[in-house]
């Protein structure tokens, strides 16, 4: 935890490459798939390297507890959960403090794009299930949830994508994994909707100077543009050949 523990793992080598061979501005290999679940209204599977997250969307529907409904719009209910087998040591399946907080953070990253005013008193459920964790699960979760919402046909202002920027051994690196997160000096997850120029999630754990922050945010936003383009491609591959019935 904290401090550059150079003796154990070399996070940046002499040629500037990271411990997994990436250069500081490289994303991990990303894979996206939509419509992976039969019983959900919308679903998506997203992988950032070894991080693998599945998202499912139900609704809009009548909320099971009427008192949680809002008179002017739909409520978004998000559950972020890590499967017991997603981590190296078994994770208790009970929702932890961290998962409850991340559920809220992911919900707030999606709320600005979902056009909830169209469905007053309804509820939209989003389940984000981490199947395998290797850093950046919340940003991968936001990306998967965005795809799943689009797959469910829920009206959105734009697609959102997320990625984390970190600082390891004084170097700003994009899309940090578990090792870099644990041994690095800072971790800054960002989610944004580039089409409408909105940042919907911004957290920072650790210390960055103002210059580093600005540079890091720019790196993240550029990467998110690429991620959202991939989301669009994924939806196009799945749905552009679907014939449409006239309304």
């Amino acid at each position: 935890m904290g401090g550059s523990n150079k003796s154990e793992v070399k996070l940046i080598d002499e040629s500037g490459k990271r411990h997994d061979g990436r250069s500081p501005e490289d994303l991990r290999p990303i894979r996206m798939e939509v419509g992976v679940l039969n019983n959900a209204n919308g679903s998506a599977l997203v992988e950032f390297g070894r991080t693998r997250v599945i998202a499912a969307v139900y609704g809009p529907k009548e909320p099971p507890q009427k008192y949680v409904a809002l008179p002017d719009r739909a409520i978004l209910r998000v559950r972020y959960h890590m499967a017991p087998f997603s981590t190296e040591d078994r994770k208790s399946p009970a929702p932890s403090r961290r998962e409850i907080e991340l559920s809220k953070v992911i919900r707030e990253a999606l709320e600005p794009v979902v056009i909830s005013e169209l469905y007053p008193r309804a509820a939209i459920d989003v389940f984000v299930e981490v199947l395998q964790a290797d850093g950046g699960t919340r940003t991968t979760g936001v990306t998967a949830a965005s795809l799943a919402l689009a797959d469910a046909g829920i009206p959105m202002r734009a697609l959102v994508g997320g990625v984390a920027v970190g600082k390891v051994e004084g170097v700003l690196v994009l899309d940090i994994d578990e090792v870099e997160d644990n041994l690095g000096e800072a971790d800054m997850p960002v989610a944004a909707a580039p089409d409408i120029n909105k940042v919907t999630l911004l957290q920072l754990n650790g210390v960055l100077t103002q210059e580093e922050f600005e540079r890091g945010l720019e790196m993240a936003l550029n990467a998110i543009k690429k991620i959202v383009e991939m989301e669009k491609e994924t939806l196009r591959n799945k749905y552009s050949k679907v014939s449409l019935e006239e309304v």
Partner: protein
């Protein structure tokens, strides 16, 4: 970012500006006056009405005013019938199911909307377990249905004596297929002489055969 030749769009795709088109279904207008798609689908520009809309690849079914629905009566109060809505249906020219709601919606039929006639006792019109067709007249709170009109009313019922299936015999009564017991109901015109078959994913789990 711009829409390509096949008009395939995703949420956020720019479709035009407010000055050139009217934002239709599946689109919205952002803070800067740009019309964007809000769902995955194909953009459709209508030059005569200057409108742009998106035809979605997945149609999201949600109760809306004026649609005909299929439901089951879950409770009958003195002045209100409570209904679980299951599907949107088409009644004319033939009965057909447009689509099943992904989850049921609870709605009420107030006494005044049960029939165009004077209703002395609501139980002579609907009872618990009836499979009915109704029209959505308000999507406010609460969701309100109406069964005024000959087309609306009961398709199937459950016998209060033996619990077996009851079928409509005339516009005001249903008869048990097992014990022959006759009860009063408001029967839908489409249920005579024979009610249409209702095959729904969510209804199969329920008692009705």
């Amino acid at each position: 970012m711009s829409s390509s030749s096949d008009n395939f769009v995703v949420p956020g795709t720019e479709l035009g500006v407010e000055e050139e088109y009217i934002s239709g279904s599946g689109t919205y207008c952002d803070d800067e006056g740009r019309i964007r798609a809000s769902v995955v689908g194909r953009a459709r520009y209508d030059s005569s009405s200057r409108g742009v809309s998106v035809i979605p690849v997945k149609k999201l079914l949600y109760p809306k005013q004026g649609s005909n629905v299929l439901g089951i009566v879950t409770n009958v109060h003195r002045d209100l019938v409570v209904v679980d809505m299951y599907a949107e249906v088409r009644l004319q020219p033939r009965f057909s199911i447009i689509g099943e709601y992904e989850s049921t919606f609870t709605a009420g039929i107030p006494l005044s909307q049960v029939s165009e006639d004077y209703v002395k006792d609501i139980h002579d019109y609907f009872r618990i377990g009836d499979v009915i067709v109704a029209r959505v007249i308000s999507v406010g709170a609460p969701l309100t249905l109406s069964t005024r009109g000959a087309l609306y009313g009961v398709l199937y019922s459950q016998c209060s004596v033996c619990g077996h299936l009851m079928l409509p015999v005339n516009p005001r009564s249903v008869k048990c297929t097992y014990c022959g017991h006759v009860e009063k109901r408001k029967v839908s015109a489409i249920a005579l002489p024979k009610p249409p078959s209702v095959k729904l994913k969510k209804l199969l789990l329920r008692t009705l055969s």
